[in-house]
């Protein structure tokens, strides 16, 4: 098993290298001159050239890449062009809201979706199945910002029971922290509900169709015990997978949600950076995001080995 773990960890390195390459090349083959952008519209060609030199843009691409990657491995992700702050510092400053949002969203999505998926599988083929899955997909079919606006309108403006926007750090008190996260997590969570519900349903169905379940049934085991003691634990593996895959989708969905609810998270940081061509920030944050995804998937794979005795590589 340790050999498997070691192999699995080593396998992530080329992936990370590819990510670094992709992230770097997307930006540097772009048209437009970042140095001119920084220098401003009153700058002379000499000033633009000076900035190019300072940013090392005059070096050949592969050298720039090597330089950037080398620094990144030491934790130096460069400095933001616009705010002149280190990218790593900017990222850490905005990490808490995004992590909080992501965790809350996952909790809400799982809490809502798993029962839905189980119910749908239990009553597979019936109207309940179709209806319940249909409603779940509806959460996914509406773009996140539409759901967000509707929630704001209903809960924050009409009912006035939840705050409309913003983020309160957990250090300022748990209740304000929670209150500010409910609407954004719900908006985003509804989006993921369909995915998790769908996988849960498929996976539970698969298990329910198996012989050992039929035997248990024939022996007269009540439905609830059947579900919770036999079906669900076996169905857990794919559900855990989807949570892993969900992290990647989540990191993307967080971006729009932060924009709607004015949450100062990493998602907004990177979107602002992309739209204003702040290359160091874009490269650095995308690299970290991708690293997170790779690590999460690695952990998921390793968790598989732990929980599913059948898996042997």
């Amino acid at each position: 098993m340790w050999a498997y773990i070691a192999r699995r960890v080593l396998a992530t390195i080329p992936v990370l290298a590819i990510v670094a390459l992709v992230v770097f090349s997307i930006l540097h083959v772009a048209p437009g001159d970042p140095a001119a952008l920084i220098a401003g519209d009153q700058a002379t060609p000499e000033q633009i050239a000076a900035i190019r030199g300072k940013l090392r843009l005059d070096l050949p691409l592969y050298q720039q890449f090597a330089l950037w990657l080398g620094n990144a491995l030491h934790g130096d992700l460069g400095t933001s062009i616009f705010s002149n702050r280190p990218v790593a510092a900017l990222f850490l400053q905005r990490l808490e809201p995004t992590v909080a949002l992501a965790v809350m969203t996952t909790i809400i999505a799982v809490l809502l979706a798993v029962p839905v998926g189980v119910l749908a599988a239990w009553r597979a083929g019936s109207l309940v199945d179709r209806g319940v899955m249909g409603v779940a997909v509806l959460g996914f079919a509406f773009p996140v910002f539409v759901v967000g606006y509707i929630l704001i309108y209903v809960f924050a403006m009409k009912l006035k029971i939840l705050p409309i926007q913003g983020y309160r750090p957990i250090a300022d008190g748990f209740w304000p922290f929670l209150q500010h996260l409910v609407l954004p997590s719900l908006a985003l969570g509804l989006s993921f509900m369909a995915l998790i519900a769908r996988i849960t349903r498929a996976s539970v169905l698969e298990v329910l169709g198996q012989d050992h379940i039929r035997t248990a049934r024939a022996k007269g085991l009540p439905a609830r015990r059947l579900l919770f003691d036999h079906a669900l634990p076996n169905a857990a593996v794919p559900i855990v997978t989807i949570i892993g895959v969900g992290v990647a989708l989540l990191l993307g969905g967080v971006v729009v949600t932060e924009s709607v609810f004015a949450i100062p998270g990493v998602g907004r940081l990177v979107v602002d950076a992309i739209l204003s061509r702040d290359y160091p920030v874009i490269q650095g944050v995308l690299l970290i995001f991708s690293l997170t995804y790779v690590v999460v998937n690695l952990i998921v794979d390793l968790v598989y080995v732990a929980i599913d005795p059948r898996i042997r590589y």
């Binding site: 437009g32 001119a36 952008l37 220098a39 401003g40 519209d41 009153q42 700058a43 002379t44 000033q47 933001s80 616009f82 705010s83 002149n84 702050r85 900017l90 400053q93 905005r94 606006y149 704001i152 924050a156 403006m157 006035k160 705050p163 409309i164 926007q165 913003g166 957990i170 250090a171 300022d172 008190g173 748990f174 209740w175 924009s259 709607v260 609810f261 004015a262 100062p264 907004r268 940081l269 602002d272 739209l275 204003s276 061509r277």
Partner: protein, 525 residues
């Protein structure tokens, strides 16, 4: 497994309950406001962006400032005098002026700051052009020696609009004018809390306890800057609807540029005050590229004047007729230099006439590239412009881009098909265009703004106006300038519109001005 689950939940609950208490005594008076944009650049000399200017007013101070009658008043300066030959100005600073990081403000700081400002700002450049020497005399006194007498020295130092001549510590002011400063240290009534700045989201200012305000009552940018709150949090919110809702519910105290269409949400709300804080507002205008066809042809440019309905543009910008004024005066309406010479086409538009004039000039169907800043609210006016220009008979290509790309591309003198442009729209504060000297956007020939209009008569008339002291002759020159601008179509004024600000009734003391000043504001708790 179930038992662990229960224990786990219990442990978590305990942890959260523990963390539930508020973090510490929060008895500070805080104003939470939404700024007009996202603060990206902190250097008000390097950029003319208004968000940076507004930010700068918090932390930096000026030598002179305009009062509510738009007359210059001393601010950091205590006394000053002009020599008999009108060539030497000597300024002495007030007592007690300190920098945020300790240390007194000295004349050397002011000299360095003026030099840096004079390298970038149009009016500053003009002033430096006439300056023979600018040097400190002692720790609190410095002098400006001119090459010839001019009438606008104090006006320049009191300039309220970008670039404002803010005073910075000498070491910061010595930064190359074409590079941005990195430290935000000033002598203004607030200090910038760098540790709490979340770029793109929140800027925090705290009251500077060692600030010594003037004794006079505040009057626009002049007078005593007394701060009655402890903290100002400037929270950038990209979503207008959310911001409006947040203000209505009390999560925010003030919004510097609410979306006018959303005001109906708070109009009946007794807790919210709506005012047009800047009585003059903005002038919307269209810049034409005089270098390339079709707008290198004067007849074509004049045809355009007939085809644009200001009302359409202004409605698209603000929606409410109470908040805009149809105005074709280059130097603004309701201002001393308002002139109506040559404004007939704009005030009585006739698209059919425009079309026939275009045909006569042989430019029917001419291709034009219209730049569109999609991330800016002027975008709406651009779409109206596209339709109006098409209605006239042009073949319009709308080139979408973000604002920062536009400000680069507009500087390009390349042909439109090769990265240049034919038309774009933008706005300017009316205070910033009130006279020929400060109105950068209609300068001609050598000093021409983007569009590169050149009529030597305009340059000459402008020069005469700057040196003229007889008001009657100045008036004549203004009319002449207005007429010439309309004839050569330096640019196309599209009217004036007034933005509003909204704030909760707990706030009072907001000074009417082009920027929101946070001194003098009191918050009832």
């Amino acid at each position: 497994m179930k038992r662990i689950g229960l224990l786990g939940v219990a442990a978590l609950a305990a942890l959260f309950a523990f963390a539930a208490g508020p973090a510490g005594a929060q008895n500070k008076i805080v104003i939470r406001s939404v700024p007009i944009g996202n603060l990206k650049i902190v250097d008000p000399i390097w950029t003319t962006a208004y968000i940076t200017r507004n930010h700068a007013y918090m932390v930096w101070d000026t030598l002179f400032a305009l009062d509510a009658d738009n007359k210059p008043q001393p601010q950091m300066v205590d006394t000053w005098n002009v020599s008999a030959d009108k060539l030497t100005y000597t300024f002495t600073l007030r007592d007690g002026l300190k920098w945020h990081d300790g240390g007194a403000v000295t004349a050397a700081d002011c000299v360095a700051s003026l030099k840096r400002w004079g390298a970038k700002d149009g009016m500053g450049q003009a002033l430096m052009g006439y300056t023979a020497a600018l040097e400190p005399v002692d720790a609190k006194t410095f002098r400006l020696v001119l090459k010839q007498p001019i009438g606008f020295v104090i006006d320049a130092l009191a300039k309220i609009d970008s670039n404002v001549p803010f005073m910075m510590p000498e070491r910061i002011a010595k930064t190359d004018p074409n590079q941005q400063i990195t430290e935000v240290i000033g002598s203004g009534p607030f200090r910038f809390v760098a540790e709490e700045w979340v770029p793109g989201s929140k800027v925090v200012y705290e009251k500077f306890k060692d600030y010594v305000p003037r004794k006079e009552p505040p009057s626009q940018a002049a007078g005593g800057k007394v701060v009655y709150v402890d903290r100002v949090e400037s929270i950038y919110m990209p979503d207008h609807g959310v911001a409006m809702a947040a203000l209505a519910s009390g999560e925010l105290d003030l919004h510097e540029s609410p979306a006018t269409d959303l005001l109906s949400l708070v109009e009946g709300n007794p807790d919210v005050v709506i005012v047009p804080n800047d009585k003059l507002g903005y002038q919307l205008f269209m810049a034409l590229n005089h270098l390339y066809p079709p707008f290198d042809n004067k007849a074509v440019r004049q045809a355009v004047l007939w085809g644009l309905k200001q009302e359409e543009f202004l409605t698209a910008m603000t929606g409410d007729p109470k908040r805009f004024t149809v105005c074709a005066a280059v130097y603004g309406c309701g201002l001393p230099n308002e002139s109506q010479a040559g404004t007939e086409p704009l005030l009585h538009p006739d698209p059919d006439k425009a079309k026939s004039l275009l045909q006569a000039a042989g430019a029917l169907g001419a291709k034009i590239a219209l730049m569109d800043q999609t991330d800016n609210d002027v975008h709406r006016a651009v779409l109206v412009a596209a339709q109006a220009l098409r209605r006239m008979g042009f073949t319009v290509e709308v080139v979408a881009m973000d604002w920062s790309t536009l400000i680069q591309r507009r500087a390009s003198k390349a042909p439109p098909e090769q990265g240049g442009w034919n038309v774009f729209l933008t706005n300017a504060t009316v205070t910033g265009i009130a006279n020929p000297l400060i109105h950068n956007f209609v300068k001609n020939c050598d000093q021409a703004w983007y569009g590169w209009a050149c009529d030597p008569r305009i340059v000459e008339a402008g020069r005469q106006w700057a040196l003229e002291t007889d008001p009657a002759k100045q008036r004549q020159l203004i009319d002449e300038l207005q007429r010439l601008h309309m004839e050569n179509v330096t640019y196309v004024p599209l009217g004036m519109y007034r933005p509003t600000i909204i704030y909760r009734k707990e706030l009072s003391g907001i000074i009417p001005a082009p920027a929101i000043f946070y001194w003098n504001i009191k918050k009832k708790i």
